[in-house]
């Protein structure tokens, strides 16, 4: 099972290379478009408390940008590697949080204007502490609490599904990322909404 992620990525690349040969003779291009994304990222849908009444987060405006490619395969399939970056969020210069996704999707276009995407990502959460301390309420009095001084990262493998509406060179995409898919207790779904621009080579 240690090789599962590498195996999945390999399968996607093999499919890409097989399809590419047949398409390449028609188009003379392996990468036929570069894709630029902008959108939002919502982390852990319905699992993060956002107020004192117990309301849970359904949507977050965390701005996200990305860059990718479209490699046509046989029939209506395409291989869609990309990288997305949830722009830094910070609080008082103390801790800065970045999230990156390194993604590989297989796309299927049942219609000219519609694409279904399935794939996998490495999700990289990076937090950088700026150090320092702060006096915060501690019940009957106050106490000093501390901000970290280090830089640490978490890496997760996610299973991703998405749908995309294509209008000429622009597309609107809803993309989900399932964290800990094989561990029900920890399984969480995050999602992005993207507007993408396809720049044809």
């Amino acid at each position: 099972m240690l090789r599962l992620h590498i195996y999945l990525l390999s399968v996607l690349f093999c499919v890409a290379s097989y399809g590419d040969r047949s398409i390449a003779s028609e188009t003379n291009k392996s990468v036929n478009s570069f894709v630029f994304n902008a959108g939002t990222y919502t982390e852990f849908y319905n699992q993060v408390q956002i107020d004192t009444t117990g309301r849970l987060k359904e949507f977050d405006r965390a701005p996200t940008v990305g860059f990718g490619m479209k490699i046509p395969l046989k029939h209506e399939f395409s291989f869609l590697p990309e990288m997305n970056w949830v722009l830094p969020r910070k609080s008082g210069e103390r801790v800065v949080k970045n999230v990156f996704f390194f993604r590989a999707d297989l796309g299927y276009d049942p219609m000219e204007w519609f694409r279904i995407r399935g794939g996998t990502s490495i999700a990289w959460l990076n937090q950088q502490g700026g150090g320092g301390e702060e006096i915060i309420n501690n019940g009957n009095s106050t106490s000093t609490f501390y901000y970290p001084t280090e830089n640490r990262s978490s890496f997760n493998n996610t299973i991703d599904l998405g749908v995309e509406l294509l209008i000429k060179k622009i597309s609107l995409r809803f993309q989900t990322y399932t964290f800990s898919a094989l561990e029900p207790r920890r399984r969480q779904i995050s999602y992005s909404i993207f507007i993408s621009y396809y720049w044809d080579r």
Binding site: E43, K57, Q127, S154
Partner: protein, 284 residues
């Protein structure tokens, strides 16, 4: 249109998690057991050890064990061997010499009111010594009281049994309080965000962790590649340390690794394209 773009780029996420020590102390192992002292007495709060123990599993599974970006695995481990001083004794931070001396002195007069010894993992008990709490309305205190270097080895959570405030809470609030104290035991400090579990007081309704709690626990116990949840130390485990540098300037994202991976991705595809060029045939 301008409004839409502006709203898009203003994140509503605010986070301000803190640590309860200045050296980023956390448990060395990501697997931490949570015990109830088997001889604890919660007479003022009118709770049996079994009732107290029944709060542990939801406190772990509804909160700290639900974070996929953290490799922390907390386990409801049942009851631990009874510590004589746990019900009335003095709980002190290992660095608080005055408190330790007071505890030793009190123990010379009444052994049951002496210093509570250091523990392994996390131990929860009721305690009726008012000196451990800042006042009657303080629900509980937590002190990681055993360290190995900068790593926490054990922490004690004491429920305030000198008043009946904890026993008067709803079961959901009691679970929230236990989960909050476990957060301290793991190394987290208070958050200023009232949506966070690590906010200093109970809130109207506590259902899940807040964003601060998730980010804080992911920082202290980061996941190093989970293979879709199959392994807690999978794909990236061989990379060893997760610390990239000791004191990076805040606000500076890791452009170098990001750029390097992007470059490798593009390079890979260009090489791939080169080797898959269609053969040109002479026209007849």
């Amino acid at each position: 249109m301008k409004f839409f773009i502006l709203m898009l780029f203003i994140s509503q996420t605010v986070f301000a998690w803190t640590l309860n020590n200045n050296f980023t102390g956390s448990f060395k192992d990501n697997r931490v057991d949570v015990f109830i002292d088997e001889g604890t007495v919660c007479s003022t709060n009118m709770m049996t050890p079994d009732e107290l123990q029944s709060l542990i599993e939801p406190a772990l599974d509804n909160f700290w064990n639900k974070v996929p970006t953290s490799n922390l695995r907390l386990k409801d481990a049942g009851f631990s061997e009874h510590i004589d001083t746990i019900n009335q004794g003095r709980l002190c931070s290992p660095t608080n010499e005055t408190c330790i001396q007071d505890g030793i002195n009190a123990g010379n007069i009444d052994p049951l009111k002496g210093l509570i010894p250091a523990v392994n993992d996390i131990v929860i008990a009721c305690n009726s010594n008012p000196l451990n709490f800042g006042g009657n309305n303080v629900l509980a205190v937590t002190i990681p009281n055993k360290y190995s270097g900068k790593k926490i080895v054990g922490a004690l959570i004491l429920i305030n049994d000198s008043s009946n405030v904890f026993g008067g809470l709803s079961r959901n609030d009691q679970i929230g309080v236990i989960a909050h104290e476990i957060g301290h035991a793991l190394g987290l400090g208070h958050s200023k965000e009232n949506a966070s579990l690590m906010y200093y007081r109970t809130v109207e309704q506590r259902k899940r962790l807040g964003q601060d709690d998730i980010d804080g626990i992911s920082f202290l116990y980061p996941m190093k590649g989970d293979l879709y949840g199959f392994s807690e130390n999978g794909l990236m485990a061989s990379c060893g340390t997760i610390s990239m540098s000791k004191n990076p300037p805040p606000g500076n994202p890791p452009f170098l690794p990001m750029g390097a991976m992007l470059f490798l991705m593009i390079l890979g595809f260009e090489v791939f394209r080169l080797f898959n060029r269609p053969k040109t045939r002479p026209s007849s």
